[in-house]
Amino acid sequence: MTSPSVALPAGRARMSPRKRAQVSRVVQYAVLVAVVLAVAAGTDWSNMREQVFNLEAAANMADKLPLAALNTIRYTLSAFAVAFSLGLVLALMKLSSVKLYRILATGYVEFFRGVPALLVVLAFAYIVPVAFQVRFSSITVTIALALGIVSAAYLAETLRAGLQAVPKGQVEASRSLGMTSGQTMRSVVIPQAFRLVLPPMTNEIVLLTKDTSLVFAMGLTAGSYELTKLARETLNSSAVGGLTAFVVVGLVYLMITIPLSALTRWLEKKTGSKGRV
């Protein structure tokens, strides 16, 4: 057997692809280490320890933390309740045979996806009370409406996609067994759509959790502070180490959102393996 000789490019000896990949990796590590060292060297560590990682300051705010965390969760869940109900209505409007409904829903979605959530929060705090002469009795209701209305625009698209992703054959099979369109929706389409949208929906809750930070722009009383507002107030009222509050609430946010993200991944895996035939 004679092995055919491969024509190598003449001239300078070239590195093998494996060797080249190796060198590339070493360079990438070197860049990373250099950046970290540069940042570390440029940081005023003693000042940081006093201002940003001040354990004493962290301990001082500890008693107010549980209520603020609870408020964050409360605002998230109530906003999600609004977002889900409104989002489902919008999704069904988008799928409606009535053209005006489709136009209205599309307009709603485009509007609230295109406007900063902070503007909507401010509108609910200052414009809506003037415009409609209403004062929401509880701050939770105001927040739930402001954030829920924005989130509904995103959820509507998610839910619509979920409902449409259930194959038409499922509806046909159900109807061919004599089930009504309502029974088909409830027993066949919605359960399957729900499984499909569960992961993106959990993701939407993570986004909502973070968006509750926008309510700092409203006038809140001490009892209704959520995490970000608490951090700002702590900064304003403490002589030294106030910035530590941001680190602390950042960690609390992560304690809420990371398990949710993990849940999303778990759900994605679960629905992925059991979903379509």
């Binding site: 109807r175 061919s176 067994l177 004599g178 089930m179 027993s187 379509r276």
Partner: protein, 262 residues
């Protein structure tokens, strides 16, 4: 049909499906160009023809999954083309099996068979379970009742789909290319379940490409081409000695795919 499933049906009627002048258009394209067909009780009618000839559309018109453009269809003596008909009620007596099985993936095999029994027929959980299990036994899948559809092979899924339809105690079964989506080695099990069903006296309309099955099981074979019913007759006549050139040319292509025709 000892107790007529539908009140208005004529108990003595031997005709289960009666199709008269059926036309169906999708937009500007007319896929059914005036079909007349009757299916008698206990009869097994196989519908054959090239793809796009309108066979599936014809079948789907029978239980109104497709709304006919013109003509009339009556099933068990009920005019299903009447806009005021309670089609859900008629559909409970018309079992349908789809090419893609269309099992409910979020339900177990048994739940697939019991869902409509409970929701539509109002049967108790226990009764529905018993009937569901009995029909799963019939299709040879009694031991898979608690599996999910995704855990079954295509052939098994299609047999579950048959059990699901049978659990409603239908007066007629419609099969829409039931083996076309199956791997060749899985076709046999499904066909043998259908053969048993035919032997038990079930009225069946079967759209199929399985000529051997049609020849063996059908009482009558109907050949469709280009939205028209070209000819019909007993299998030995229609498949063995077709009188129309279109039928001959189709059969030549199907029975001997390597044969160069025309």
């Amino acid at each position: 049909m000892t107790d007529s499933p539908i009140g208005t049906a004529d108990p003595g009627s031997a005709v289960v499906v009666s199709i008269d002048g059926l036309r169906k258009s999708f937009g500007p394209r007319e896929v059914l160009k005036g079909i007349d067909l009757e299916v008698a009780q206990g009869e097994v009618v196989c519908v054959i023809g090239p793809s796009g000839s309108g066979k599936s559309t014809l079948l789907r018109c029978v239980n109104l999954l497709e709304q006919p453009t013109a003509g009339s269809i009556s099933v068990l003596g009920v005019e299903v083309t009447d806009p005021d008909v309670d089609i859900d009620r008629v559909r409970t007596h018309v079992g349908m099996v789809f090419q893609q099985f269309n099992l409910f993936p979020h339900k177990t095999v048994l739940e697939n068979c019991t869902l409509a029994q409970r929701k539509v027929l109002g049967r108790s959980q226990a009764e529905a379970d018993e009937i569901g299990r009995k029909n799963l036994e019939h299709v040879g899948l009694g031991d898979r009742a608690d599996s999910h559809p995704s855990q079954l092979s295509g052939g098994q899924q299609q047999r579950v789909a048959i059990a699901r339809a049978l659990s409603m105690d239908p007066a007629i079964m419609l099969f829409d290319e039931p083996t076309s989506a199956l791997d060749p080695e899985l076709v046999g099990d499904v066909l043998s379940v259908m053969r048993d069903l035919a032997e038990s006296g079930m009225t069946m309309m079967v759209v199929t490409h399985e000529m051997a099955f049609a020849r063996e099981v059908a009482d009558r074979v109907v050949f469709m081409d280009d939205g028209q019913l070209v000819e019909q007759g007993p299998p030995e006549q229609l498949i063995g000695n077709p009188s129309h050139e279109r039928t001959r040319s189709f059969l030549a292509r199907v029975l001997d795919p390597t044969h160069k025709h025309d």
